[in-house]
């Protein structure tokens, strides 16, 4: 136990671990913010992984074609939106099972991306770091928040934007109503499946952008395994956060921290069981959902399709 404490001490006093945690957390946050909206509307959007992966490949491709990071990010967002359009229209227009659609889209995007990657081999590199004066000099955490590749900063405005969209607009109210009780929402004149489709489009936008950030702000070049299940971790972060914005951000930070913890530990000279460390957030999530059920409440219609006249 003392060993563990000293390991934690070493990691906590190392500013590299903070900026690493921030970079992982940012990717999760990009995806999780959109996923929060989609889940509040009642879709458990499994294709999040595919959206991020599609965004990542499109980002690399955009950079390859235009050699501009911003263009790459635009490409990424568009492809995220395309995947979202497929998911939304298949599952909330044709009323096909949302999990089948999501899983098939994940396979499809992975197949197409790695297929095109080997035949095009896009050349890309990471965006430059942008240190924001004064605040980036805060010891330990300043660099983590304010001295990062510039695409990361896009996640900061996204947080209040999501909050405003979900809690301060009529659209957001309708989205929450649709996820909570679609029958009542339908009776009061809300087009349930339309709101659900729109919420998936938002998830596609943000997670496509997240994929663009992953390839252009963090890794630098596209590989098939670049996302490596982080889309699913983002879904777990949403569940962990109890579908509230504050909780979701907390979940992203926690999961990102654990991830970077795992990578920093060996460099500061500690051996810790990395499997147990990566499984821990998931176990914690299950326990929180199970035992703090009075505080976390999932959208009642989560993952239930809506067809008028059928309950």
């Amino acid at each position: 136990m003392g060993d563990f404490a000293s390991a934690v001490g070493d990691v906590v006093s190392n500013d590299v671990s903070y900026s690493g945690a921030m970079r992982f957390a940012a990717l999760l946050a990009f995806a999780a913010l959109g996923e929060t909206i989609a889940e509040r509307a009642g879709t458990l959007n499994v294709s999040l992984e595919g959206m991020v992966l599609g965004g990542a490949f499109a980002g690399a491709l955009g950079m390859h074609l235009t050699s501009s990071v911003s263009a790459g990010l635009v490409f990424a967002t568009v492809i995220g939106l395309v995947v979202a359009a497929l998911q939304a229209n298949m599952s909330h227009r044709l009323t096909a099972n949302q999990f089948v659609v999501g899983l098939a889209l994940n396979t499809l995007v992975l197949g197409v991306a790695s297929f095109l990657n080997t035949s095009i081999q896009p050349v890309s590199r990471a965006a430059h770091r942008l240190a924001i004066p004064v605040v980036s000099d805060i010891p330990l955490v300043g660099g983590a928040f304010f001295n990062q590749p510039w695409p990361l900063y896009l996640v900061y405005p996204l947080v209040p934007l999501t909050w405003w969209l979900l809690y301060r607009t009529r659209w957001g109210l309708e989205v929450r109503a649709v996820g909570e009780n679609p029958q009542s929402a339908d009776v009061s004149g809300i087009d349930v499946n339309k709101r659900r489709r729109q919420s998936i489009y938002i998830a596609g936008l943000t997670s496509g952008l997240g994929g663009g950030y992953l390839v252009l702000g963090q890794v630098g070049r596209f590989e098939d395994a670049i996302v490596g299940g982080q889309g699913f971790i983002a879904i777990a972060a949403v569940i962990f956060g109890g579908w509230t914005l504050r909780g979701v951000i907390g979940g992203c930070v926690l999961f990102g921290t654990v991830n970077s913890f795992r990578l920093t530990l060996p460099t500061v000279g500690h051996e810790l069981n990395s499997e147990l460390l990566s499984a821990a957030p998931f176990v914690v999530t299950i326990v929180t959902v199970a035992f703090f059920a009075h505080r976390t409440h999932e959208p009642s219609a989560l993952a239930r399709p809506f067809v008028r006249g059928l309950t």
């Binding site: 298949m90 009323t95 899983l103 396979t107 197949g111 297929f115 095109l116 777990a236 990566s278 499984a279």
Partner: protein, 371 residues
């Protein structure tokens, strides 16, 4: 308002013809899109489809390979069909399969020399492993009202990390260090010759004997669904749990059974994979499940939980997987088989959805005409 004529129900033959035409049309569109993707990157689509057929059926001994891959897919899908029928959503087969394979590896390796008894114990251990993993989800569902969708999804990662840990310590799964073994971390001991599933040989195609068991399982599930009280109660529970409760069908009891069977099937699939020899050469490794759990789930949902459909779909999915091994010769990346598979899945979703919507419209029109 003049009420419109209530639309007369078209003949069943006509309905079936329309459905068949829709399915064929959608499959053709999916194959066409795949062909366009191949051609756009300078490959020859004829060569790709021919290689896929060679690799899955036509070449010497290949359909045995396809059957070997189809076995775990069918088992996973049959389990999924049962929980879907009871109205429960289990999407954690990948993790349950991993746990089943790990349990089977633990028991199988330790029982070397016991022969057929060891094989039975190994398969039972696999079932137990998967059932425990699904049991956690159903326990939390009925005890703490945690949606089973979430727990099964989250438990996948926990399973892969737990088995990864098991492969790091010798008292669980890791093979003891030996001089002759090339240094390779995280691999289990190889299953002894006498504790492997026997393999059948048909005209140069060999596949494990579990293929027979799988066909029997599919038949049993079909009979259970069609002819048994138990199957009917499951269906009642899935269609309307309140009605089921009124009729004396305990949702806790039947739901728990559905989840346990579903997890047990996924675990059994893992045990079949481990002892059958088509996956991992009788060794358990991290990433052993190789997406079979996810694909089995897809098979069940695309086949709309019908046992016969499941066998057919599993065979086609397995064919694509086996066929992708032959793609290297065409110079086209093997990922194209994933693209073909995903497009086929999406295509197969469209006709039932369209038919459902049409039926709903007709029903709504009929109600409107009556009032």
């Amino acid at each position: 308002m003049s009420s419109p004529e209530p639309p007369s129900a078209p003949s069943r033959l006509h309905e079936a013809a329309v459905a068949l035409a829709m399915y064929l049309g959608c499959i053709v569109v999916a194959l066409f899109i795949s062909a366009v993707i191949v051609s756009a990157t300078g490959g020859s689509w004829q060569a790709v489809f021919s290689a896929l057929l060679d690799g899955s059926l036509r070449a010497q001994g290949r359909w045995g390979e396809t059957i070997g891959i189809a076995i775990p897919l069918v088992v996973v899908a049959l389990g999924t069909a049962i929980n879907s029928r009871a109205g429960l959503v289990n999407i954690g087969q990948e993790g349950q399969l991993m746990m089943g394979a790990a349990f089977a590896a633990y028991v199988g390796v330790r029982m070397a020399g016991f022969g057929p008894l060891a094989v039975v114990c190994l398969l039972l251990a696999g079932i137990l492993g998967g059932a425990i993993w699904a049991g956690i989800a159903s326990g939390l569902l009925y005890w703490r009202r945690v949606p089973e969708v979430l727990t099964t999804l989250l438990l996948i990662t926990v399973a892969s990390q737990a088995t990864g840990y098991g492969l790091k310590v010798e008292w669980l799964l890791l093979a003891p260090f030996r001089e002759d073994r090339s240094v390779r971390n995280q691999v289990s001991e190889q299953l002894a010759d006498d504790t492997r599933l026997p393999r059948l040989d048909l005209w140069g195609n060999d596949f494990p004997i579990s293929a027979v068991a799988v066909v029997i399982m599919a038949a049993v599930v079909l009979v259970l669904f069609r002819r048994s009280v138990w199957g009917f109660r499951m269906k009642m529970l899935g269609r309307n749990s309140r009605t089921a409760q009124r009729a004396g069908v305990s949702s806790v009891r039947y739901g728990t059974w559905a989840m346990l069977i579903s997890g047990g099937c996924a675990g059994l699939a893992g045990a079949f994979m481990f002892s059958g020899g088509d996956f991992g050469n009788y060794r358990f490794t991290p990433g052993f499940s190789n997406n079979i759990g996810w694909e089995g789930l897809l098979v069940a949902l695309v086949a709309r939980q019908h046992p016969v459909g499941i066998v057919v779909m599993a065979f086609s999915f397995a064919g694509l997987r086996a066929g992708s091994g032959f793609l290297a010769a065409t110079g086209v990346e093997r990922e194209i088989s994933q693209v073909v598979q995903a497009l086929l899945v999406l295509a197969l979703l469209v006709p039932p959805a369209l038919l459902f919507i049409r039926e709903r419209r007709r029903a709504l029109a009929a109600t409107r005409a009556r009032t």
